[in-house]
């Protein structure tokens, strides 16, 4: 970096401001002149030859002919499509609020937000609009903030012009020259931390003729989060800079909190409808492999740009990037949104749901295949049970029955692959958990089996096993307690209850090999 600065300039005081500039930017960046006033003539997506929207050079559509205040929405809602066909001056006002909010059940995090929620308010304008953006930083904020909108043509995307101290406001105006779906984010140093704390959202610049009509539109934005405690560790969890630098996310989430798109919060639609998702990825680090289990995207505006790809299973959404996808719903049921970098879905929270109501279409989907049960129904019941268990736990009221219920949900994804859904195991390879004499002889010994794994010769119900069970120490204390309580109360086992405190005690007395999950 270069300092356009030296002691000869006044040191301090009003107006005497030393300025740090990047020589690079001073030298090279300029603002393209607002260009031609003719509207581009784009038609709704067609798979024909590649079209050219003309980019920013064709972006200006003449001076604003009216003024309006933008309708802003919180995810998963999207402001209504723009029906006017003339350029307007659109006023957007966003308030930055720092707030402690739940990130998972019983877990809170200090989010920094554009408008009180993560992701920030959805902004919808039309190509050629002149946007007057006012950023207010709430007086209770501890940090200065600003906004860099990727839809802006001009150095810094608005960051410098909106750099705002707590209890202050600032404003700048830009013309939305390029159509597309754009991320905006805070660009105050340290940028990574402001983004990691949730400072991002989407702005849609509609093409002049609008987007093709659909029945429903939703706003889904992914982000990765880094906390000092591990995934689902209860209580207030501070930001962990080291994990952020290592890109070792604790949570990967849609819409800023685990469960924000699950069960009662699921997106809802009906058979026969066409659904469009405006998908963003705030990062700060991870690229999303966005996928909806059980659907194929009919259209994808790849990276939120102009060209449409068709019949896509999984689309990449870069950190600081977006995609627009749509699909027609033929079959009722629950569809699961995931980041198909799949450990993020099952172990870091990147799951959401679309619940589709309507009449069965047996011709399209018989409903008898194993997959339908596995993917749709189970995900629904799992999430519900786990959620109920952890909220009860937050209040310290977990009964044995609740532990069993939560453990059952976890068992399916965690243990059943080897020990079987009914705990019967596989003779000679995986010992049974059902009626296991080894287990029933000393149920609390199983805590050690889960934390450290088990290898070498064991005899279970007269069968000899000499194999390896990997350590399951990535599970937290609650999860291990619930799993084992479920196991000892199932399939003819001797009953009882394993508490989270027992697991905790055992874990703290267990030296861990270097690099193992705690």
């Amino acid at each position: 970096m270069t300092f356009v600065d030296d002691e000869s300039q006044a040191r301090v005081g009003v107006g005497a401001r030393r300025t740090l500039l990047l020589s690079l930017l001073v030298a090279s960046v300029g603002c393209p002149a607002p260009a031609s006033t003719t509207a581009t003539t784009l038609s709704p997506p067609d798979p024909g030859p590649v079209r050219d929207s003309g980019g920013s050079a064709a972006g200006g559509l003449g001076p604003p002919q009216l003024e309006e205040v933008a309708i802003l929405t919180d995810a998963p809602l999207v402001p209504p499509p723009i029906t006017r066909r003339v350029p307007a001056k659109v006023k957007v006002e966003i308030e930055v609020i720092e707030a402690e909010l739940p990130i998972s059940d019983g877990v809170s995090y200090s989010f920094w937000t554009f408008g009180g929620k993560v992701p920030g308010k959805f902004i919808r304008v039309r190509q050629g609009d002149t946007v007057e953006l006012k950023l207010l930083n709430h007086p209770s904020s501890k940090m200065p903030h600003n906004i860099d909108l990727h839809a802006v043509t001009g150095p810094g995307g608005g960051a410098a012009s909106t750099f705002t101290a707590p209890g202050h406001g600032s404003q700048f105006t830009f013309q939305a020259l390029n159509q597309g779906l754009y991320v905006y984010h805070c660009a105050t140093a340290p940028v990574g931390m402001h983004v990691a704390n949730g400072m991002y959202g989407l702005i849609l610049v509609e093409p002049p003729e609008g987007l093709p009509k659909v029945d429903r539109e939703f706003y889904v934005m992914q982000g990765d989060f880094y906390t000092v405690g591990k995934y689902r560790e209860k209580g207030h969890q501070p930001f962990d800079m080291q994990k952020a630098i290592e890109e070792n996310a604790t949570y990967v989430l849609f819409n800023g909190a685990e469960g924000s798109l699950l069960d009662n919060n699921a997106l809802k639609a009906a058979v026969g409808e066409r659904v469009r998702l405006f998908v963003g990825n705030g990062g700060p680090n991870l690229v999303s492999s966005f996928h909806v289990i059980g659907e194929v995207f009919d259209h994808v505006w790849t990276e939120g740009g102009t060209h449409v790809q068709e019949n896509v299973q999984t689309t990449l959404v870069p950190a600081g990037g977006s995609a627009i996808v749509d699909f027609k719903l033929e079959v009722p049921g629950t569809y699961i949104l995931v980041d198909h970098s799949i450990f993020r879905a099952f172990n870091k929270g990147a799951v959401g749901m679309i619940k589709v109501s309507g009449a069965e279409r047996k011709d399209v989907y018989s409903g008898k295949e194993v997959d339908s049960v596995y993917l749709a129904d189970k995900a629904a019941s799992d999430a519900g049970a786990i959620q109920r268990a952890s909220s009860a736990l937050g209040a310290g009221t977990l009964t044995r029955e609740q532990q069993v219920e939560a453990g059952r949900a976890l068992f399916a994804g965690t243990c059943s692959a080897c020990h079987g859904g009914e705990g019967k195991g596989l003779p000679g390879v995986f010992p049974p958990l059902a009626g296991s004499d080894f287990l029933n002889a000393d149920p609390s010994r199983a805590i050690g089996v889960l934390l450290n794994g088990l290898s070498g010769k064991v005899s279970v119900n007269g069968g000899a096993y000499d194999s390896v069970m990997p350590p399951m120490s990535q599970l937290n204390d609650d999860e291990i307690a619930n799993l084992l309580t479920f196991v000892v109360n199932s399939w003819g086992n001797s009953g009882g209850q394993i508490s989270s405190a027992q697991v905790k005690e055992r874990r703290s007395g267990t030296p861990r090999p270097a690099g193992a999950a705690r």
């Binding site: 500039l21 007086p139 990574g192 931390m193």
Partner: protein, 242 residues
């Protein structure tokens, strides 16, 4: 002779301690660390009671009289009256909602001055046991945790144990004014650019310990000298006698 004695008395006054020499520190985020000589620094943040006494002696700094050039509308806005903090706020808590001009005037009325950013950083680099704890993970984590959390209501000073130099509450209570706060990272709407923030951040991002310093730099550079903020207080410094 009398003046001389008076100066000795002030210099030795118990509420200030001598800082330095110590490790080189960033001069308000500049690229090179600098050595700071020895100087005196207040042990505690200036409290509301202290500031009320100053306002009593210098009525031109009352919120109803102070000139708009020097304070914004929020100057001392949490006080019950123009003269006193009142019952609703803790009088022993640090004074906040004061502008840079007001803070400077207060210090100069005590025969002191605001610390420079480098002086402040030197004092604040110390933990209770080390002169330079900037690479100490738990020290840094505690600072970052406070930066990250929404602010709690201010309570009396002396909340933290004095650090190795004998100074209290440098972290975890309020931000503090420094003399050269407005070394701007990016400020001017035309020539400024988000890139400086990105690239500047990148320079120190490799060392997570620097993040805390970088956040202070960002905070300071968002200020203007008239601004009065609920989370921004100050303490005074003074040269050591030769």
């Amino acid at each position: 002779m009398l003046a001389f004695l008076l100066i000795i008395a002030l210099a030795a006054s118990p509420e200030m301690v001598t800082i330095g020499p110590g490790p080189a520190v960033a001069k308000n985020g500049g690229p090179v660390d600098v050595d700071v000589g020895r100087f005196l620094l207040d042990v505690d943040l200036v409290s509301r009671t202290d500031f009320a006494a100053f306002v009593g002696d210098h009525p031109l700094w009352r919120r109803d009289r102070a000139r708009a050039l020097f304070v914004d509308e929020r100057y001392l806005a949490d006080w019950a009256s123009a003269r006193a903090p009142g019952e609703d706020v803790d009088p022993a808590a640090p004074v906040t909602l004061v502008s840079w001009f007001a803070a400077r005037a207060y210090c100069s009325a005590q025969g002191k001055r605001l610390p420079t950013s480098a002086e402040w950083e030197l004092a604040a680099a110390a933990s209770t046991t080390k002169k330079d704890a900037r690479a100490d993970p738990s020290f840094v984590a505690a600072i970052l945790d406070w930066y990250g959390r929404p602010p709690a209501p201010l309570r009396a000073n002396h909340r933290t144990q004095a650090n190795l130099w004998g100074v209290r509450d440098l972290h975890g209570v309020v931000w503090e004014w420094v003399e050269d706060f407005n070394f701007a990272l990016v400020k001017d709407g035309r020539s400024g650019d988000g890139g400086a923030l990105f690239c500047g951040a990148g320079a120190s991002a490799a060392d997570p310990a620097d993040y805390a310093g970088f956040m202070r730099l960002a905070f300071r550079s968002s200020l203007e000298a008239r601004f009065a903020l609920p989370v921004l207080g100050f303490r005074c410094a003074k040269d050591v006698l030769p």
